[in-house]
């Protein structure tokens, strides 16, 4: 019989239980914590004692945090779990829009929501239960173990029709997606046996190694480079669910190492244009979106596509579209501005971008027709027009983003627009100018 060394755990079973639950919450919040760490943590806590809250915090911190971006999550989970007895109440109010406004006295901080979801999901029976009556109506279902068929269903499900649990799962799926892009030829050369140019430097170096004998000429070929991605995302009221999900997706694309894109620039607009590129680089997706939300004051407001695109063209297009960037425009095209201005700005944008792809969630409706004046004004100028309402549609986008001829649904919808607007964006704009 194997002899196990006796576990030197403190006598208080409540503490061990609490630490265990805390560690499980951390794991659910995304920190890589193995079972061994739980034992270590209980030991560490027993070693440091409870005299100082700071010591307690840093003892657990030392065991649980492995990367800088974990710190925010850890701090939130810790605060919620050990210090703030009102957290349940507050998080319930955040998670359920129905009771929002009644209890919400401050907004959620970065990673707080995730911490709360982790804590609430599969809550221990002896968790501190502050408001027993309320909990009945505030039951939250999070189906973390998605079966294959469930995943398939989620793929085609409209973002707007997802429940909180499905949304959480969808976010996880989106985080794994990427937008693979084909490289572009550049003017820098790299060695290649079948290259078109003779690499004199390398030939010479090789010849020297063989005492001056040139056995073959080294050749060079242009080394590929990666294009930039510029995303301009509508965050007005009608788009809010989609833009949130798409921003989740973008965060994954921007932080996905080796996925191609040299740089990902992101802008949001409603009534005004905001550059959120810097925020997107924050590793924690919740912190990134929260920062972006603070920066963009016009979240869920009205839409003024024409003037926002004008602002983009004037202030940013030269700076971010310089090296052949692909532009992803995400909007429903329902605009308050004059269609003439919108058309001119779209033309300018499509002339400066390498490719202009429009993602429109409205396209999910059967029999969608470009009747709205804004959509009719924008459509002739885009290179590709696609739906962007579900994971499947974003996956489709990933599949075609590199193919230069992909036009999505553009041709079909242009036909519906009728001969008035014509096929050619150039002539359109000229007509606009004559008017």
């Amino acid at each position: 019989m194997t002899e196990y060394p006796p576990l030197d755990l403190p006598d208080d079973p409540k503490l061990a239980q609490n630490v265990t639950h805390f560690m499980r919450a951390l794991r659910k919040a995304g920190l890589p914590i193995g079972p061994g760490a739980v034992i270590d943590a209980v030991r560490a806590v027993a070693e440091t004692g409870f005299t100082s809250r700071t010591d307690f915090y840093w003892a657990l911190h030392a065991l649980c945090v492995r990367r800088p971006e974990h710190r925010a999550v850890f701090a939130q989970v810790f605060r919620l779990y050990w210090r703030d007895p009102r957290f349940m109440e507050h998080m319930m109010s955040l998670l359920l829009p129905a009771v929002r406004g009644v209890q919400e006295d401050r907004s959620a901080q970065a990673a707080e929501k995730r911490a709360a979801e982790a804590l609430l999901d599969g809550a221990e029976p002896d968790m501190p239960n502050l408001h027993e009556d309320e909990n009945e109506e505030t039951l939250i279902e999070i189906d973390a173990s998605a079966t294959m068929s469930g995943e398939e269903r989620l793929r085609s499900l409209d973002f707007e029709q997802m429940s909180t649990g499905e949304m959480a799962e969808a976010k996880r799926m989106l985080a794994k997606l990427s937008l693979p892009v084909k490289p572009l030829p550049s003017r820098r050369y790299g060695a290649s046996p079948s290259g078109a140019r003779i690499d004199a430097r390398r030939t010479m170096a090789q010849a020297l190694r063989r005492g001056g004998e040139i056995t073959q000429l080294s050749r060079a070929t242009p080394r590929p480079r990666w294009p930039n991605l510029v995303v301009i995302c509508d965050i007005s009221g009608s788009m809010s669910t989609y833009s949130r999900m798409v921003l989740h997706f973008l965060h994954a694309v921007a932080n996905h190492k080796g996925a191609g894109w040299a740089q990902v620039h992101a802008f949001t607009f409603g009534t005004r244009l905001t550059n959120i590129t810097r925020h997107l680089r924050t590793r924690d997706v919740d912190a990134a979106l929260a920062a972006a939300g603070r920066e963009a004051q016009d979240w869920e407001g009205g839409t003024r596509i024409g003037s926002c695109l004008h602002a983009f063209n004037r202030d940013w297009s030269r700076r971010v579209l310089g090296q052949g960037a692909v532009v992803l425009l995400i909007t429903d095209g329902l605009d308050r501005d004059a269609p003439e201005q919108l058309s001119a700005e779209m033309q300018r944008l499509s002339l400066t971008a390498r490719r202009l792809i429009w993602l429109n969630p409205l396209l999910r409706w059967e029999g969608f027709a470009p009747r709205a004046s804004g959509i009719a004004a924008m459509l002739p100028h885009v290179h590709s027009f696609r739906a962007g309402h579900s994971i499947a549609s974003l996956e489709e986008l990933a599949a075609v983003i590199s193919s230069p001829d992909d036009a999505g649904e553009k041709a079909r919808l242009m036909a519906q627009l009728g001969p008035v607007s014509g096929q050619d964006g150039w002539r359109d704009a000229e007509r606009g100018a004559e008017r």
Partner: protein, 300 residues
């Protein structure tokens, strides 16, 4: 010529070269000369970023070495290249003569070295260190920017076969960028920074008078007032000082005495370079701007 010992000295020096600049730019230039730090100039196209390098090199009597950046610029075009053809011939000749001893040292001697702008700038020059202009840095790519870090902080370049070549006296370095992309902070941190803005009416008039003295005073005033007014309009590309000077010279060539909407319509291509902007100014717009410009001139 010695470098000026005051900001006023820099201003006089530049004025002698017909370069009129604001106090901010002359201060930055003075500090760059004094501290031996590179000067990083950013601003819209045509505001005179490149010109200041030319002016300072002429004013100080130093050689101007220009490195024009482009996408794909690499060390062999920016720093040095070996003359491979000559090396190859030397190699064959040595083989034929049977004297291959110490060949490697001979092949990588300085006579086979082709110096490109950065290396040239590190060499000693008669009459003092040269002015090194690294123009439109935003056109190159991040790897080259990173490469510049060594060259600009230590003023040395390394050639593997020879070793480090250290500048006996740091060159006066001026970098320019049109801001078509952001240059990395690491590079900016090593430089003094100045944003070159459009000049105000008085200064632009001074510049125009200095650059195109043959244009009549009245026309110059009108041209500058019109361009100043034009910059307040919502344009895709606002005209720079270079455009103002070009336009004034165009008008001179056409024997124009005073601005009128017709003249403007005919010569607008010298000022505005985008079809969108030009079409915006067709018809009554040009007339309105001209009237506003003339109204602004009245009290003077």
């Amino acid at each position: 010529m010695q470098t000026p010992d005051s900001i006023d000295g820099v201003e006089t020096l530049l004025e002698d070269q017909r370069y009129v600049c604001g106090r901010g730019l002359s201060t930055a230039m003075f500090l760059a000369l004094r501290l031996g730090r590179p000067l990083f100039l950013e601003g819209e196209a045509g505001v005179g970023k490149t010109e200041i390098a030319k002016a300072i090199s002429k004013g100080l009597g130093r050689k101007l070495i220009r490195l024009q950046c482009y996408e794909g610029l690499d060390a062999s075009s920016a720093v040095y290249e070996w003359n491979f053809a000559a090396q190859m011939i030397a190699l064959r000749a040595a083989e034929a003569g049977g004297a291959t001893d110490g060949l490697k040292d001979q092949l990588f001697a300085e006579e086979f070295l082709i110096e490109r702008p950065l290396l040239q700038a590190m060499r000693p020059h008669e009459g003092g260190a040269p002015v090194l202009l690294i123009d439109e840095l935003d056109r190159t790519d991040a790897p080259f920017e990173a490469f510049l870090l060594e060259a600009l902080s230590d003023f040395q370049v390394t050639i593997p076969e020879i070793g480090a070549i250290i500048a006996p006296e740091p060159p006066i370095v001026i970098l320019t960028s049109n801001r078509t992309r952001e240059v990395h902070d690491a590079l900016k941190r090593r430089c003094l920074y100045h944003w070159v803005d459009y000049p105000d009416f008085t200064r632009e008039l001074e510049i125009l008078t200095a650059q195109a003295p043959e244009v009549s005073a009245q026309l110059s005033r009108e041209v500058v007032a019109f361009v100043q007014q034009l910059r307040t309009e919502d344009l895709f590309k606002k005209p720079g000082v270079a455009e103002t000077i070009d336009w004034a010279k165009c008008l001179l060539a056409l024997d124009v005495v005073t601005l009128s909407p017709e003249v403007i319509a005919d010569t607008l291509g010298a000022v505005l370079k985008y079809q969108d902007d030009i079409s915006k100014l067709q018809g009554s717009e040009a007339k309105r701007i001209l009237e506003e410009a003339k109204a602004a001139l009245e009290p003077a």
